[in-house]
Amino acid sequence: MGLATSIASFIPYLAPWEFSPTVALVCAATAALYIRGLAALRQRGVRAGFWRPFSFLLGLVLIYGSLQTYFDFLSQHMFWVHRLQHLVLHHLAPFLMIVAAPGPILRQGIPAAWRGAEQGLWHRSAVRPVLKLLQNPWVAGFLFVGLVYFWLIPAIHFGAMLDADRYRLMNWSMAVDGVFFWWLMLTPRSAQGAAAVAYGPRLTVLVVTGFLQLFLGAFIVMDKGILYGVYGICGRAWAISPLVDQQVGGCLTWIPPAMMSLLGVLVVIHHALHDSEPSTALAGPVTAPAMMPAAVRAAAPAAVAAQ
């Protein structure tokens, strides 16, 4: 009985603090697309295994959960929980989603009637230059760190935590930029099409952005004043010293993002060793062997030997 009651008492906390139809719709549509893609591939006898779908869907659930549960209330009223929310939205969840190489599976999930439109979209004259600019690793890196710095400028942060629209914009910008940045960094070169980013610049961007976030986090931890008074004004979720709140939040800005950058470096090195032959990986139309990580791994020694 104890367990059932404690589970039941937890349910209200899973309800959205402020319901957002957009978040719900985008998350549901992405999940539907992915599951459709998995089913379509399975019909052709291609299995994605357990870990890739697990990683992708876990990332998606984390994004939804951090935005549409009681956790969002805590994020609005506690600086360190807010930093944790952004760690999930900007780093952890997108990383989990992208490292699962979901592109080919998602593409399979697109209804056949829309597939042409999807292909055409990336080649539109209005879309292409924007995409090309964003795909520049330095621009992407600047955006990635710039957004973190921007929303943490005390005056900007004040507005974002009070104004509901700015708050939503801030969280969306984190999630969208997170997915895009990690896609650019972690997708095998061969699966990125014409604008693929070489591994060398990726490593540099990951290291530089890692250090820049480290500086910001350290600055927040070391600062002796209260940088973000808005949490005191609106009331914290529970009694905690404002400085402790700030320092824990600073630590979350300092250490985990740097760890994620390091993990990113490892993934890129892995790709650099195993994906040097463009034909071996998850590029273009999905073929059965390309879908299988085992097949990629099997092809790797040959690729290394060919270098």
Binding site: W17, R166, I233, C234, A239
Partner: protein, 216 residues
């Protein structure tokens, strides 16, 4: 007017303004006038308190006042409204904040009658109508205690992005309520304008309130 003779909005032969030139000039003057009007708006008296212009939604609520009457934000239109969340058993922050506001209102003199301080209880269980009336009245005639049920309170808290949290009661049944420290200032039209709190000097609050009263 022949387009070919129109150079830079003037007839190249006579130097007279063409119709195109006139309309261009007119548009420029209009733009200049609009800019001047904008600059006029920007020249509003500078407030010393933190501005929350455009950050929070307009004043809106359904509560019960300390006479037991149901009230809405509409009942306070035309007055500058100071919205504050607290509770009568509050040991320190609430009395200090309300005392500061009381002093600031005294500084306003006669125009203090154009200000209402709405003290919304985050502890409606203990804060009865009678208790709220006695408590609010202690700080001045402009102070009004408001209460509502938990649902109403939660909605209001979401709207103004504040939090309150009841601590578990001690052995005597006493408990504290953690809550926001902000006083939101709304103008006569119910728009969120300024933010103040316990630590602001009353004189500054007086000054900004009188500016706000004068600007409308």
């Amino acid at each position: 007017m022949d387009v070919r003779t129109d150079v830079g909005g003037r007839d190249w032969r006579t130097g007279a303004r063409t119709s195109r030139g006139r309309s261009l000039l007119g548009a420029l003057m209009l733009a200049a006038a609009a800019l001047a009007a904008l600059a006029g708006c920007a020249r509003q008296p500078a407030f010393k308190l933190q501005s929350i212009n455009g950050l929070l939604p307009a004043l809106k609520f359904n509560l019960t006042d300390d006479d037991g009457r149901p009230v809405t934000a509409q009942d306070y239109r035309g007055d500058v409204v100071l919205l504050y969340f607290g509770y009568t058993h509050c040991p320190d922050v609430c009395p200090a904040t309300l005392a500061m506001l009381s002093q600031a209102l005294k500084g306003l003199g006669a125009s203090a009658s154009k200000v209402r301080v709405l003290f919304v209880s985050v502890d409606p269980q203990r804060d009865t109508t009678a208790l709220l009336k006695r408590y609010a009245g202690y700080f001045g005639p402009q102070f009004i205690g408001l209460r509502g049920d938990d649902d109403t309170l939660t909605r209001l808290a979401k709207r103004y992005r504040i939090s309150y949290h009841r601590d578990p009661p001690d052995q005597y049944g006493n408990y504290a309520v953690e809550h926001s420290s902000a006083v939101f200032v709304f103008d006569q039209k119910g728009r969120a304008r300024l933010l103040t709190g316990e630590s602001d000097p009353p004189a500054t609050v007086t000054q900004d309130l009188s500016r706000l009263i004068a600007s409308n």
